[in-house]
């Protein structure tokens, strides 16, 4: 009852250890904040939802890869993905993502390491705040820029933990804090594209915005810039799919060359933040943490659930404060949105496969590089638009209409690409134009 509550509630936590800006080990923070720490540890749980969560598949550990459990392979679930990414590391190994506890291992042991990877990878898979500061003798940005340039194996030696308390919190106030230079620069560029200049996120962001920004340090599209392998979020023209593609086209960036078609392609990666910004929830001020870290009662305490996971596994707390529908109904609403996204995603995938076949055929038939170039550019566009939704992990929920709009445009690009190859040999069709 409320009276008891008040008693207990008086001191929500006990400061048993002194935390400093160099305390990296979450276990130490856990001494002061046992409730958050216990929840944080739960991210090892693996539960599957219709389109999310993850399966826990046992495997026999090897010297090279000691993991005894991994998540299901997406490229085995849908082999079309191998053809889409042919020639790129993702065609070797790409799995469903799982909880934060695994981020460092999954990166260290992914089959993609077969291709040499830079230290930059570390930014989003480890507790890097202290490491970056150390490497830069106190200068966070300098240290980060150095670690980016190390070979992965070297950088790996500098970190011990997956994302930890210090990566999201100020050790003295516990306030949220942005620790990733790439996001500081990225969000400033995005704001600038919206007319807001000199944006300093840790100074200018509201508390509510920070509840999404801490996530947006990693759950975003990115690329490595230049020799320095600098981590950059491509938002200078805005963060809608067309803005990002325009940005890449302008600087002439490509992630890889498609093995079968020779097209210079882009790999989209987990643009959760970007898609969310186009949705009704972002518009309504609903933050990532509202759904993925909903407040939860533990005894008399009300804390943010640090067991970050699919809200479908926690509908009551994640959704029902705002939506007074039964859990089953809310689940069905999400799955309806996701199934619709998935059905058009499959059409877009088939269209891209057809374009790749036609391009292969045309190359084989010795069509001039000039003609090929046009179709290859269509592949670049279709691939990036489709991948933007495919790589985004909510299966469209974060912005249902926008996700499907993007897939519709991807279909148009793929099919136009096919036409561009065929038209040339069909005078009458072009004549009719």
């Amino acid at each position: 009852n409320i009276l008891e509550h008040k008693q207990e509630a008086k001191n929500p936590f006990f400061r048993v250890v002194e935390l400093t800006d160099d305390t990296e080990d979450p276990a130490v923070w856990g001494k002061n904040f046992p409730l958050q720490y216990d929840a944080y540890l739960k991210t090892v749980d693996q539960v599957r939802t219709k389109f999310g969560g993850s399966d826990a598949l046992p495997r026999t550990p090897t010297q090279a890869d000691p993991r005894s459990i991994v998540a299901q392979s997406k490229i085995e679930e849908d082999p079309r993905l191998k053809k889409m990414w042919s020639g790129y590391a993702f065609a070797i190994d790409f799995r469903e993502e799982r909880g934060h506890a695994f981020m460092l291992d999954d990166q260290t042991f992914t089959g993609r390491q077969a291709k040499p990877q830079p230290g930059t990878c570390m930014n989003c898979h480890a507790s890097t705040y202290v490491a970056n500061k150390k490497a830069g003798d106190g200068d966070l940005v300098k240290g980060w820029e150095q670690i980016n340039q190390l070979p992965y194996a070297e950088a790996r030696k500098l970190v011990q933990h997956p994302v930890g308390c210090i990566d999201c919190h100020d050790s003295q106030t516990m306030a949220l804090r942005i620790t990733r230079p790439a996001f500081m620069e990225g969000i400033a560029a995005l704001k600038a594209s919206q007319g807001v200049t000199n944006y300093v996120v840790n100074k200018d962001a509201t508390r509510q915005e920070m509840r999404s920004y801490v996530c947006a340090q990693c759950h975003v599209e990115y690329y490595f810039m230049g020799q320095e392998k600098k981590l950059v979020f491509p938002w200078a023209k805005g963060d809608k799919v067309e803005n990002i593609l325009a940005y890449y086209d302008e600087i002439g960036h490509k992630d890889w060359t498609h093995a079968d078609t020779g097209a210079p392609l882009l790999k989209a990666q987990h643009p959760e933040f970007e898609l969310w910004t186009q949705g009704i929830h972002a518009r309504s001020g609903v933050a990532c943490a509202d759904c993925h870290m909903p407040y939860t009662r533990v005894g008399a305490h009300k804390i943010s659930d640090h067991h970050i996971r699919s809200p479908m596994l926690n509908i009551n707390k994640a959704c029902q404060t705002c939506h007074h529908w039964p859990e089953e109904e809310l689940k069905t609403r999400v799955e309806t949105i996701q199934s619709r996204t998935h059905s058009l995603r499959n059409l877009a995938m088939d269209a891209l496969m057809d374009l790749i076949d036609d391009l292969k055929g045309a190359k084989a038939a010795g069509v001039s590089t000039n003609e090929l170039a046009k179709a290859q550019d269509f592949q670049r566009k279709a691939q990036f638009y489709l991948d933007f939704v495919e790589a985004e992990n909510s299966t469209g929920f974060h912005a249902p209409q926008e996700a499907v709009r993007i897939l519709g445009e991807s279909i148009d690009f793929s099919r136009k690409g096919q036409n561009s190859l065929r038209a040339v040999s069909r005078p009458i069709a072009t004549a009719a134009k």
């Binding site: 509550h5 008040k6 509630a9 008086k10 929500p12 936590f13 400061r15 100020d170 003295q172 106030t173 516990m174 306030a175 509201t206 508390r207 509510q208 001020g285 509202d290 407040y295 305490h301 009300k302 804390i303 943010s304 404060t321 705002c322 007074h324």
Partner: protein, 153 residues
């Protein structure tokens, strides 16, 4: 005449009239009881019936009255707010110039939002963390998630 002067004259006469009807309403519609803490004071206006009905069904009916959430804690703030709201409510009600779906204005939304902390200070502290480096203006909005606790909308 300059725009501002016209505006001035218009405003003046409107207020004059308003004071009249306002006073009339206050007596006729038991407006005086507006100054008490009794929720019934609010439903003297059928306009408030919807919220009253919602309040009766709410988790707060037995713990918080309208004024606990809609009037600032401090005495002066409380009565000046009630004077303002009371006057304008009377004015709008009498003239019938108010929207069918009444929307809380920013000032009163802030008051309602801050009211939560009068009773839930610990909770507020818990979820905002031990120390709040953010400005007082930038606190967690409770009604973002709990807009229905006082009365279902």
């Amino acid at each position: 005449m300059k725009r501002s002067t016209i505006a001035g004259v218009v405003l003046g006469s409107v207020l004059g009239l308003a004071l009249g009807v306002g006073a009339y309403t206050f007596i006729y519609a038991k407006g005086a009881s507006y100054l008490t803490n009794d929720p019934k004071a609010c439903v003297n206006c059928h306009v408030m019936q919807e919220q009253y009905d919602g309040w009766i069904k709410s988790s707060h009916r037995s713990v918080a009255t309208c004024n606990d959430c809609h009037a600032p804690a401090d005495f002066v703030g409380k009565y000046s707010t009630k004077a303002q709201n009371g006057f304008w409510h009377s004015f709008y009600f009498t003239t019938g110039k108010y929207p069918d779906n009444i929307q809380i204005n920013e000032r009163n939304r802030k008051i309602a939002n801050e009211a939560c902390r009068k009773c839930h200070a610990e909770i507020a502290e818990m979820i905002e963390g031990p120390a709040n480096k953010h400005s007082a203006a930038d606190t967690t909005s409770c009604i973002r998630c709990h807009r229905n606790v006082g009365h279902l909308h």
